[in-house]
Amino acid sequence: MREMVMHLSPEWILLVGIALVLIGEILLHKDSSRSMLGIIAILTVLGSGTLLILQGKEVITLFDGSYTSDPFIRSIKGLLVAGTLFVLLLSWTEKIVAKGEYYLLVLAALLGAMSLISSSDLIFLFVSLELLSLSAYVLVGMQQDRLVSSEAAWKYVIYGGASSAFLLYGMSFFYGLSGTTNLTKISGNLAVAYVNGYELFLYLGFVLLLVGIGFKLAAVPFHMWAPDVYQGAPTTVTTFLAIVSKIAGFIFALRLISMLFASGGLQSILHSMVVPSLLILSMLSMIFGNVTALKQHHLKRMLAYSSIGHAGYMLVAVISILLDKQESSLSSLYYYFVAYLLASAGTFATIHVIAKDRSPDRKVLSGLYKRSPGLAFSLSVFLLSLAGIPFTAGFIGKFTILVSAFGNSMYWLTGTMLLTTVISYFYYFRVIRQMYWQEDEDVSQVTMHWSIGIVITFSLIGTFFFGIMPNVLLQNLSNWIG
């Protein structure tokens, strides 16, 4: 029991935080400020991060291996924590009536995300996934004075419900074929079933799983919810979805797939089916995500499509990992996460500041270079990083993914990735153009809360730092993972 407390401490502390926020919300007067609760939430997340660091490099498995935590997982959790921290900081000025509940839900979602990537059991996975999703549904719909917020939540919940039905359906087949829900054991039994001629069930099961995975990643063709939800959700929640939920989704996908098909007998399925279908998903995501973003005026919607494209890029890394299992591919994925996290957080933070009450159409950025040169510059850097321009973290991330992909002879994927990157230049640069050479109608100064300032500064420094000194991270990563 003591072990369980120790090992699960990063998650436990979140539970404690949830409880504290809940109590605080109940105790506080209806009209009093909820910033206290925000501080509690931030402290909780920080504490969780600290505990993660304290856990060091040990490998933990609990409950027959249905809970695992190794340095890589832990470092991903670190990213989730960092992402959530950014979200919480941004939330300071978010206009939400039920602020206390909001913090609680964010913590719950983080808890879901963290247990999602630690779990190696179908049941465990499902429950954590639903915790994450359900909190997210509520978070999306929390800005009740905006119609679109509710509508987004509606679409999200229906789409999410359907896709979790698919996911479950797939899981049920895997369970049926293997008789276990424990992922560490499942693969061997599946191999037996495969040999006995049940491969079609495997295909079916996998494709059904793919729906659930695709939904979490927002990969084409399971991305349809993303633009509307990103647009309708409060900007902070969009940030959460784009960063925490997405990263957790990737690791979920990676673990699920690699553990399902880990057994030697299933390698042929991995190559003949899993990788090709991921490949299709990845290509479609890159193409449709980037292409559709071309037409968007609404910044958040554009970023939604862009994040679909990025999901495609990250899928490339996932495929490389599945193919070669080299640590370098893993670190390329991680690097991309870092770059993507920093840039996305920065971008959303900037939009959050500038758009304020207005709907963040591209026009709100007009003449930003005059109104706030610093913000204009930072936003440019973030967008350039998303576009993968050198000297930003995004470039190194893209480069490492490309190297992994090329190393696994995925030439067409490499080509598509670069081609769509070129397409993506268009809409990223259009935003930059809007700031720098569109004259402004609105000349009001931009005011910014310090908490957002922290996020932007941190993202900016990080984007440059990891773009110029990639070795700091790459070296450490290979130490951790290796």
Partner: protein
Amino acid sequence: MNAEFLAFSILSVFAIGGAVFFLNAGKVMHMAIALAFTFFSLAGIYLLLQAEFLAVVQVLVYAGGISILMIFGIMLTKPEEGAPSRSFQYHQWISLATVTGFFVIIMTIIYQTPILTPAGKETSASVKSIGSILFKNYAIPFELASILLLVALIGAIVLARKEQK
């Protein structure tokens, strides 16, 4: 042709019938009742599969809780009936084709390689065994599920309550 098969046939006809009625009922309330019927039938099937605990849960949660919840929902939203728009009809046909395609594929797979139950390995799960496994191996998911319910609770309150301003 044993009793179990007979029971299964009847229950499945009920379940499918309920579902089909759900699809085609003219009034919203009828749909809800039809679906509740399906849920009940499923509980029966669970019994057939010797999952008594689940059968009870099914009746409580689905046939009882969720159906009632939905009926509340229906009443709160005062649905009006109307003819589907043209574009929607178009959408319906494609949906039908797609679902049929999906159905055909699943059925083909199921029937092409039927899963044979190994003889004598059927287990009956008592509530006790379920309980013990649940709290031994699935303690964390259970905890998470409780958080999930908390989230759902708070979420539902936050979302459904009237705007304060």
